[in-house]
């Protein structure tokens, strides 16, 4: 395993790596490091999973029915002629 300082240098590139924005050269260096560093691999994979978990909580998002009807009432959009179309 690398000494801490070394791993820390890689850590700050993880987000760009995940977003596919890390320049090719740094990308290769990071991949080579990951191949031999279990700690960084765990951190990277759990970082990805953290982002995925939060993304998936947002996908199924719905407005609670009572919040929805109070919103329409507040905006005076609860008349029939408006909502019928949609």
């Amino acid at each position: 395993m690398d000494e801490h300082g070394h791993c820390k240098d890689y850590l700050k590139n993880f987000c760009d790596f995940i977003d596919g924005e890390l320049p090719a050269e740094l990308c290769e260096q990071l991949k080579a490091h990951l191949a031999e560093c279990t700690n960084c691999t765990i951190i990277l994979e759990t970082l990805k999973r953290t982002i995925n978990i939060y993304q998936s909580t947002a996908e199924s998002e719905r407005l609670p029915e009572d919040v929805h009807s109070r919103l329409l009432a507040r905006l005076k959009l609860d008349d029939d002629w408006i909502t019928k179309g949609s």
Binding site: H4, K8, L11, K12, F14, C15, D16, N39, I42, I43, E45, T46, L47, R49, T50, I51, I53, Y54, Q55, T57, A58, E61, R62, L63, V67, H68, R70, L71, L72, R74, L75, L77, I82, T83, G85, S86
Partner: protein, 202 residues
């Protein structure tokens, strides 16, 4: 996800001309997302509902000033983000002033190393875990929280997030890195205990 490609030029024309049905359509399409942002930002249902209503009241008033060539998504999120930030300032004025200048790193803590890469999905669905996910968001400073929510949860680009918050893209990137790493650390601490108790209980 709220995306500009969901709004045709014709729709935007109707909207800016004051068409109530077009406004109603905008509300239907976007309000679940706006509410989700407010709820995660404020962690309080009543406050989130207030922000939701204020956002669309303000949006309706501001529609005549909307620049047709700019992004409707960014415009709407900007109104919502400002409302949410105003609500936070109103509720926690002291905390906000401490947090405002949050771009300096607070110490170089070692990252938590807990291997929960292969934790089963069902572990994540529990009510306890979902509460923990929101608590981890609550622990982020306002500045980090809004960046994470816009970029990673709402799925906006770094550029859109920067436009909404009126900061440059590098600021967004820096805050995003810190928010993501903090959340990962928090989740790792939580799952460390889950994994330990799993082993103990067989």
């Amino acid at each position: 996800m709220i995306e500009d490609k969901d709004f045709s030029p014709d729709f935007i024309d109707r909207l800016t001309a004051g068409d109530r049905a077009a406004f109603a359509e905008l509300v239907e399409k976007t309000s679940p997302r706006i509410y989700g942002l407010a709820l995660r930002m404020l962690s309080n249902e009543q406050d989130a509902e207030d922000v939701l209503q204020e956002t669309y009241l303000k949006a309706y008033k501001a529609i005549p000033d909307f620049e047709k060539r700019s992004s409707l998504t960014t415009w709407l999120y900007r109104i919502a983000a400002n409302e949410a930030l105003m609500m936070i300032r109103k509720k926690k004025p002291l905390q906000q002033s401490v947090e405002l200048d949050d771009d300096n790193d607070e110490g170089e803590a070692q990252p938590e190393i807990v291997d929960w890469r292969y934790l089963p999905e069902k572990e994540l669905a529990s009510i306890e875990t979902r509460r923990m996910l929101q608590e981890a968001i609550d622990r982020l400073s306002t500045a980090l929280r809004i960046v994470f929510l816009l970029r990673d949860v709402q799925g906006l680009s770094v550029k859109e997030t920067a436009d909404i918050l009126g900061v440059n893209e590098n600021v967004v990137k820096t805050r995003l890195v810190r928010a993501r790493l903090k959340l990962r650390d928090d989740l790792s601490g939580y799952f460390r205990e889950r994994l330990v108790s799993e082993v103990q209980n067989g």
